[in-house]
Amino acid sequence: MGSFLLRRTLQLLLVLWGGATLLFIIFNALPTNPAERFASGNGNRNPDPQVVENLEKKFGIDKPVPEQYVDYMTGLLHGDFGNSYVNSEPVSDIIKEKLPPSLRLAFWAIVVESAVGISAGALSARKRNSVGDWVTTLTAVILSAIPVFVLAYLIKQVTGVYAYQHDWPSWASFPTIGYGPDEYFLGIIPINGTWKYMVQPVFVLASVGTAILARITRTSMLETMRLDHVRTARAKGLTEKRVMKRHVRRNAMIPVVTVIGIDFGTLVGAAILTETVFNLPGLGSTIVAGAKAFDAPVVMGLTIVVTLVYGLASMAVDISYAYFDPRVKLGDD
């Protein structure tokens, strides 16, 4: 277990360092430098060369590139991501401000999609009706074809704007902008009516994942139920309940956990779009704003942070894997 953790941590560090380096190369490899791109809106307008020069001096872009690289990397080690071109605000501050809301959103989305998806899948497997299979498969496929932002828009418009305009009952209508009172218990659980603001974005984020998880849970359980060791368990005289609980469910969860891990990546992308649609403060909407403004430090910094979070989440999934399947723990990586 220890060596496993060590290996994965090293891997994560490599990804972070490599990612930062690659990004740095991408950002600085072109003939134009980031300051120019920012000032000119990437060629959309002709900036005053003096302005550009000032920018370059201010953000250290006039130095040779290798030196900039070293500066940047040492800065990273200290948690210094540079400053935004737009308002000179330290990127690390921006991160501190925008990371928690995004994490909260992702957390709840995962909780909802796992709880609903896995239960639905397990139920469908137990009932073993092929109608359930058809429905979940079809829903999953269709949902994955609809762009997240379209779904978000629809939800927002229908249960938000339209509902308010036409006075729908309060259980069916939701606010559409921001997080409202934005208060949380223990930093995670929304209180004081904040939850109402979270319903729509969480629903949107969780929707695709729920369908996929339901489908994979069902398939996995049905397959596991046919395995030899389940028959042995019955032959031992165990009650059906116990057979399901100890010999089917745990084994069936293995591929499900894998899918949850894979879904993380999709979740990040979906979160970016959802935050934009619902005007929620978060890493996603901030990156978009930064990209639009060609604000290189913001984009770079936030990208690195997102990569870190994503990497940690993947690692958590891998570790939980070891809990479900002991064959993994013993170093057969």
């Binding site: 395995l227 030899d228 032959a235 031992k236 005289g237 084994n251 064959r327």
Partner: protein, 424 residues
Amino acid sequence: MADDTTPQEPNTTGGPAAPDPDLAPADVPVREVPIAEVPVASEGPLPDTMADPTLLVDEAILDAEAEGDHAPHIGEIRHGATGEPLGAPILEVSDLTVDFRTDDGEVHAVRGVDFSVSAGEVLAVVGESGSGKSVTAMSLLKLLPPSARVGGTVRWQGEDLLAASKERMQQVRGAEIAMIFQDPLTALNPVYRVGDQIVEMILVHEKMSKKQARARAIEMLDLVGIPQANKRVDQYTHEFSGGMRQRAMIAMALSCNPKLIIADEPTTALDVTVQAQVLEVLADLAHRLSVAVVLITHDLGVVAGMADHIAVMYAGRVVETGTVDDTFDSTSHPYTAGLLASLPRLHGDIDQPLVPIGGQPPSMLNPPAGCSFHPRCLFAKEEAGCMSVMPELEVKPGGQFAACHRSEELLAAGNLVRRVEVES
């Protein structure tokens, strides 16, 4: 074993000690299994098995011991018994039928199986793939998938298991009748420790603490010959070798003191070198603990070494039952004769061709009319009813029960007798 340099004398304990000096080499009596219509008498003098009972030695022992192997042999525990009654039956299967509903129609996997097992006895159920032997085994404990429909009666100590409730079955499984499966790697759950799986079973059937159950589990693992049982008990199945896994399964099966073990092809998935060891363990423990065994297998060598009684299955029915010794020596059914004949000989002439039973097993969707074996049987005769009337199990002159219209006739003509070549 003393210096063994004379190649001519087979060092057998039970076989013929030396060739009869009165016979020229060319006339060496042959002990083989002819299944032709030609009467045996024209082949030369027969070994007189009535005069020399030692000629009734099991083939497997002959083969093994020809190499000079004098280790105590599984068969020696049982060998010698010639049909002594072993007590009242504890398991009686009557007219067992199993049908599967499939997309292609109804498959009649088991079509009327009868056999019985007495306390402490080893019954081997033998047949080709598709004969229905595994399905039979699983139906005894009602472990078949929901698409199966089972008929007939399975009387366990007087009680019909097929009519028993779910709760009763849960009591029976493991505590009264235990089962061992073919592939121990997949039969055990890979995500739990081996010891935990045994403990789980013990705790279901016996009232004891976890500690006590664990101690029992270690004791059982030790009993089956797994070294360092107290360490192994905490390992996972993939850390065990194939043979050890199967031993662990045996340990688990015996852990609640069942009176009967059903072993479904327990050695098929194992290396040949390990097969004998595992069977040794099973036979030894069964004997010591007076546990009856129903051994499902397709390997006649295994049967010879271990079983008291044999039930031969073909196309979902039992076609012959009897003691192993009697049946091997003088079978009453052409199919069994064919099986025995198809065994390759270690002693034979190297040019001797192998003698398979021609043809394929029948489709269980549409079994042939009359005797299911008749399309492949060399002795099938229209007049005897082979093509039209399903033969029932009836007692035959040799003492076995066989389902064949022509048994008496063929036995009298000597077509079904097995003869073994004597090393010269």
